[in-house]
């Protein structure tokens, strides 16, 4: 291939790996890393390569598949988000001392902010702490070159290496070269601006690109010296020499102190340890502009300073517009599940999990969000606590998605069943890994590249783990789900074996119909509405609008999918008579 193509950073990482001779790729999806593996599939086809590609059931499996292949001589890579690196930590850490015949690049995409993770972590820190070579990518084109470089570097040193991206690079779009990079070519790092010793800046990742733009705006491109770091560990001697030669040195990196720790002691360093860079959060343009402007002024450099116009906030604060917190989609089956759970047991404890359904917090049916599978583990801890204290019989209703169940919950559920812990676990099964872009689960019977696979139904797994009470229902039928939840609780109250599992199965609407309207007849929500707002408050669907003038609820025509589940929620008997339009989902054969 030649020329250029506009693509996101994750596609560019895939292109670099495929161009450098990748043979085995395994991943578990997680924002912001999810687009890398599908792009490996795309470039494999376009470049006519032979690559084994799989969605693994979790990051540890992905790493071990890639690690095994690398030990046996293949050029391999595994991809995950930063929290996934924790899941894969056991084989990862052993990678320090196990020689490989081929190559292994571990790609970990960090989430500064965090924007869609439970924790903000710096994968570079973990790598540097344990002496793993690590590279930090700064743009899509840079990511392509570094991914190719990392694979040949690992092949050369016969050890695994880590390639770190962040969501801002993984999801940035630019024109990327399609030419195959030269073998073992130089990487883009080193001195970028040389303007004396007064103020030097060391930066890596997207922070480098942001600070370059900021220096232009503030008129400092001829006043400060700037060094771009790409290989973070082992730290190149040129970087240490640059750092040591500056009177004042600012370190801009996401999200922990890695370069800052490596250069400390060399010179007067400004960064997180000195309070000049915020401890948490993304290095956005505004944040970097503020840091650089303050430091330039403190070190006596003339700038074209930026001062915000407070009149904007003043004017905007005088008008009201709707807040837009993240919500489950209109027609999402999880909303029905959470409504049923809250209605069945309003005073229950609700351990939650990681996925779209973490958003059940807004319906009061998700109390915790710790880690993948954590709902089941925490439920066990809550159960033992109530039992030990001999407190009231508080129902415990855990919720977990289908992909998350396969990813992390099997040992937790087996352990709970072995010990007979009495709580209800609801597996909200929408048939796909919805939040990260509809990747298959072990129940889908489909491989990464579309070939068919053995489908493993959740119910059989649950029974095999020793669970006695298993019932599958369609959450669109809210009264049926409420009844099933009460049966499950009754089973536990009558000293039946715990935990009890409800499989709430209805396909993700985006997955089933790619976002198209599923149900044709428009509902008339205003008919019979007395304006009580029960549905608006407790069902929290973005498709519902309350018309203050009419004093009635109505559909948002651009968003509502006419699923009709909200009719179950309405306390007015007249409207309850309607049936929802969704068909009940049978258990898989």
């Amino acid at each position: 291939m030649n020329g250029t193509e506009v693509m996101i950073g994750n596609q560019a990482i895939a292109l670099g790996l495929v161009q450098a001779g990748l043979e085995v790729a395994a991943a578990y999806p997680g924002t912001p890393s999810s687009e890398i593996l599908p792009a490996v599939i795309d470039f494999k086809r376009r470049l006519g390569k032979d690559i084994h590609i799989e969605w693994s059931v979790n990051e540890r499996v992905a790493m071990e598949v890639a690690f095994g292949a690398a030990m046996a001589g293949k050029k391999a890579a595994c991809m995950m988000k930063q929290v996934g690196l924790n899941v894969a930590f056991v084989p990862f850490i052993k990678g320090r001392e196990v020689p490989i015949e081929g190559a292994l690049v571990v790609i970990s995409c960090d989430d500064p902010g965090p924007q869609s993770s439970q924790t903000e972590q710096d994968s570079r820190l973990i790598a540097a702490l344990f002496s793993f070579p690590v590279f930090d990518v700064s743009s899509p084109e840079d990511a392509r070159l570094l991914a190719a470089h990392a694979l040949s570097y690992s092949s050369r040193i016969k050890r695994p290496v880590l390639l770190r991206s962040t969501h801002r690079v993984s999801h940035a779009r630019e024109a990327v070269s399609l030419e195959t990079p030269g073998q073992g070519g130089a990487i883009d790092e080193g001195l970028k601006l040389s303007n004396g010793r007064r103020l030097g800046i060391v930066s890596s990742g997207m922070g480098f690109n942001v600070v370059t733009d900021v220096l232009g705006e503030l008129g400092l491109e001829n006043a400060v010296s700037l060094y771009k770091a790409a290989q973070i560990f082992p730290c190149p001697p040129e970087l240490l020499r640059f750092a040591g030669s500056m009177e004042n040195l600012l370190v801009l990196e996401e999200t922990d102190e890695v370069l800052e720790a490596l250069v400390s002691g060399a010179t007067r360093v400004f960064g997180r340890s000195t309070g000049h860079v915020p401890r948490q959060g993304e290095l956005t343009y505004n944040v970097v502009r503020g840091i650089v402007q303050a430091l330039a002024e403190a070190t006596g450099l003339a700038t074209r300073p930026f001062s915000p116009d407070a009149a904007i906030e003043e004017a905007v604060s005088s008008i009201s517009f709707p807040p837009r917190p993240p919500k489950l989609c209109a027609g999402c089956p999880h909303r029905a599940s959470f409504y049923a759970m809250k209605q069945a047991f309003p005073k229950a404890v609700f351990p939650g999990d990681i996925g779209c359904y973490t958003l059940g917090t807004s319906q009061g049916a998700v109390d915790t969000c710790v880690d993948m599978g954590g709902s089941i583990g925490l439920a066990s801890g809550f159960f033992e606590t109530f039992r030990q204290d001999g407190g009231p019989d508080v129902p415990i209703l855990a919720s977990i998605g289908d992909s998350t169940f396969f990813h992390a919950a099997l040992p937790l559920l087996y352990d709970a069943a072995a010990k007979g812990k009495r709580y209800v676990a609801v597996i909200v099964d929408n048939g796909t890994t919805a939040m990260t872009g509809m990747q298959p689960t072990p129940q889908s019977g489909m491989r990464a590249e579309g070939a068919s696979d053995y489908a493993i139904p959740i119910e059989e797994v649950v029974k095999g783990l020793g669970v006695e009470f298993v019932k599958t229902i369609d959450p669109y039928e809210i009264p049926v789900m409420i009844k099933a939840l009460k049966e499950a609780k009754a089973h536990l109250t009558k000293e039946g074996k715990g935990p009890a599992v409800i499989v709430a199965r209805h396909p993700c609407l985006l997955f089933a119909k790619a976002g198209k309207k599923m149900y044709s007849d428009d509902l008339d929500l205003a008919a019979g509405c007395n304006g009580c707002k029960h549905c608006v408050k407790l069902f929290d669907c973005p498709g519902l609008i309350f018309d203050e003038e009419l004093g009635k609820v109505k559909r948002d025509e651009g968003i509502c999918v006419n699923c009709g589940v909200c009719l179950f929620v309405c306390p007015q008997k007249k409207k309850r008579a309607h049936r929802p339009r969704g068909k009940a989902q049978p258990a898989p054969a």
């Binding site: 250029t4 506009v6 924007q115 869609s116 743009s139 801002r168 999801h171 940035a172 779009r173 630019e174 024109a175 997207m206 480098f208 690109n209 942001v210 370059t212 733009d213 900021v214 705006e217 956005t284 343009y285 505004n286 502009r289 930026f306 915000p308 116009d309 009149a311 904007i312 906030e313 003043e314 004017a315 905007v316 005088s318 008008i319 517009f321 709707p322 837009r324 917190p325 993240p326 919500k327 489950l328 989609c329 209109a330 958003l359 985006l510 976002g515 973005p542 651009g558 968003i559």
Partner: protein, 191 residues
Amino acid sequence: MKWEIVCTGIGGRGVLLASAVLIETATSAGYHAMASDELGMSQRGGSVVSMVKVGSFRSPFVGRENADVILSFEESEFYRNLTFLKAGGLAIVNSAGKEVPGPVRGLLADRRIACHLFDADAIANRNGSVQASNMAMLGFFSHFAVGPYTFGNILSAIGRKVAPKFFEMNRAVCEAGRIEAGGRLASEVRP
């Protein structure tokens, strides 16, 4: 020359396709261009911001009061993201309303911002589908011929970005947006 453009709106309404057309247009015209998207957690109905920088920039981040243009595909998202727009900038807002509320009108005048409210949804609806309102927005924007963003350049980028069977409808909506801007602005004094 360089330009910073912010596209704002809500999920599922074509903000990201419009942004993809903007970067494609610039790249085809020989400019370096980068884009960065912020989606929040929701796939449909949540706030979406896409930043596009064209010319000699290194990052796709737009700083406060740095955007030359804001294309707002939904009115409230315009107010939410107004801090992006520089003094003297251009705003195009999809709205059925006639004018922005008083306090904001004063602010826009003080900051010499040319703000155009127009009903892209209605124009898209009349020419095929309300889902194509993003194309009406791009057509309206092409009237100003900012940098590489002439009607012809935008239209060829749309041709490369949408499926052939939808091209004619998208072209018609885009053109209707351009005609709306032309007809309206011929008789209007720019602030």
